[in-house]
């Protein structure tokens, strides 16, 4: 097999991964590279009802709640805190009891992904600044 053919086969094999690698300056693996996309899917599926598609706390159910759902774009909570409140629910954390516990519903990976997504869209986070 010629070296040109080998190179071509490598490029074909890596095709789906290359755009993500190019977008990530620290050349993370494909699993890491798509974490924000996966997190967005989790967010869109489970969180938009209250937090809204823009994560600003203005979902269609938000009007029901006092306090209103959090504006996650400006949240000052750590990733560890977000993971805990997602897993355990608002009531367990002394926050709104209307925030459901998602620990039984989402996998560990889904929770990590959505927390990462929230860090990407947060106006104050390092992940957001990196973009």
């Amino acid at each position: 097999m010629t070296s040109a053919l080998k190179t071509l086969l490598w490029l074909i094999a890596l095709g789906p991964v290359l755009p993500a690698l190019a977008a990530e300056p620290d050349h993370q693996g494909p699993e890491e590279a798509f974490k924000d996309v996966r997190g967005y899917i989790v967010f869109k599926t489970h969180c938009v009802l209250c937090h809204g598609i823009h994560a600003d706390g203005n979902g269609r159910a938000a009007k029901n709640y006092n306090p209103r759902p959090a504006n996650l774009r400006v949240s000052d909570k750590s990733d560890q805190y977000k993971e805990m409140i997602i897993r355990s629910g608002g009531g367990a954390m002394g926050r709104s009891p209307f925030m459901p516990p998602w620990g039984q519903e989402l996998t560990d990976e889904q929770i990590r992904d959505v927390v990462y997504y929230l860090s990407v869209i947060n106006v104050n986070s390092k992940a957001a600044a990196k973009r």
Partner: protein
Amino acid sequence: MNFVNYDPFFHNVFSLSDTKTFDLGSYPQGQGRKITFNNPGTVEVECAIHSQMKLVIEVTK
């Protein structure tokens, strides 16, 4: 109406309908929460945890 959770995981029962807006919160297996419908009309009930779950209640006089 009493919404009892018989499943081994949390559910959340809420409605944004004009006839009756409410949220019974999230609760585990074995618990139930009650709501009274005072006015006739259509009430669309949803689960905040499982977005595919929907129930339509027709309240009559």
